[in-house]
Symmetry: C2
Subunit: 234 residues, 2 copies
């Protein structure tokens, strides 16, 4: 009788013990990255708050947080929209991301433990398996894990955070990508070389490879953005 929020879609039950506001941030980020909230769509506070099982106050705080990450844009007196996915923006992101990954690769070659490298190799083989089976989603999953691991091996939390923030934009683009087998194979081949460079701790080479790899990735995204969007995403 005193709990008004006992709605059906009570996602807050997922909240462990503490951290409630961060839950909303993560949920909202996922909705955007996963593409459930499409680029440039308006974020209706009342609707979203209800969907996430909270009130407008924490939701607005989450929106501000994500605005700083660049995933949403704030329009004065008009609320917020999901940040648009413009080709120009993607080019910019990939250039910066390339520099960050190159740096991370170099640092990782110095700082990674043998166990780190072994784990990355293991993830690499998982990825190869899913590539062989043509399982795109699973491939992406391991691909991301590999890149994340390399970043983490650099041992620079600030670098990792900057990378994650920018990488969210890239993840977002992936969900509308129709990956050609040719590009896919090329990406896998690049990964092979990257792993080799990492195992040999050849920082300079890994750096260069990561830069090239990012260029290839950008090309994929640009193709995807160029192809007329099939309106079937709902």
């Amino acid at each position: 009788m005193d709990i008004p929020a006992a709605t059906a879609t009570n996602v807050t039950s997922l909240a462990e013990r503490r951290l409630l506001h961060e839950t909303v941030v993560d949920q909202l980020r996922d909705l955007i990255v996963q593409g459930e909230l499409t680029p440039e769509s308006k974020l209706n506070e009342r609707v979203l708050a209800e969907k996430l099982g909270t009130s407008r106050t924490p939701l607005r705080e989450a929106i501000k947080f994500l605005a700083s990450e660049g995933l949403v844009e704030l329009l004065p007196n008009r609320g917020a929209v999901v940040a648009p996915l413009k080709p120009e923006k993607m080019k910019e992101v990939f250039v910066v991301l390339g520099a960050l990954e190159a740096l991370a690769g170099d640092l990782a070659c110095r700082n990674a433990t043998e166990a780190d490298i072994a784990e990355i190799r293991a993830l690499h083989y998982h990825m190869l398996a899913h590539h062989a089976r043509g399982e795109l989603a699973q491939y992406f999953r391991y691909n991301q894990q590999i890149h994340t691991r390399i970043i983490d091996c650099a041992g620079n939390a600030t670098l990792a955070q900057s990378w994650r923030s920018l990488n969210a934009h890239v993840k977002r683009a992936r969900y509308l990508a129709n990956l050609s087998r040719e590009r896919w194979d090329k990406a896998v081949k690049e990964h092979e070389e990257m792993i080799d460079a990492l195992v040999k701790r050849d920082g300079a080479r890994l750096q260069a490879l990561l830069r090239d790899h990012l260029s290839n990735k950008l090309a994929m995204v640009m193709e995807a953005l160029a192809t007329p969007r099939t309106g079937a995403e709902r």
Copy 2:
């Protein structure tokens, strides 16, 4: 009137007019960067809201925004504190900042107009003047302007934003720095070379110089952080 609200692309262009919530963000950021709110000090919502002439709600939103920038840290159920200024963190920031500035330098050598370069040279001479007179605050002002201009000349807004976010941490450290004349002279000398490389549009060299310059800057900050803080900064 004649506002074409229906066109899809101008949603964001209209946005940049006036922001009321961003006022609080900017004020709070300044308080932190300027050092008026010292590292690790607690952000009392009631007190701060009163100080900024608003209520707790917009203040909390601003805090969340700055938390994403890394200037404040959120403690669950304990509010927020100004992010600590740890040497380890500074090292990380400078490494990433070095990579970003190096990238920017390279891009700037390609993209800057002659007018851009002329302006940067002009700022450089202003800076030299203030260095000659030993006017540290004014020196810093022009120094920042030069670096900001170089970043902007890269023509990559995403790069610029990432840089600004990280640079805020550096700005913060400067206010407690007792700069030795020796280091100061060295920094100026490095700037001389950087301008030269930019004028000659030697991207590779500017890139390398910026990296070295950042290392020198880091050394300054580390010295400052090592010296016992005189608690008289108010």
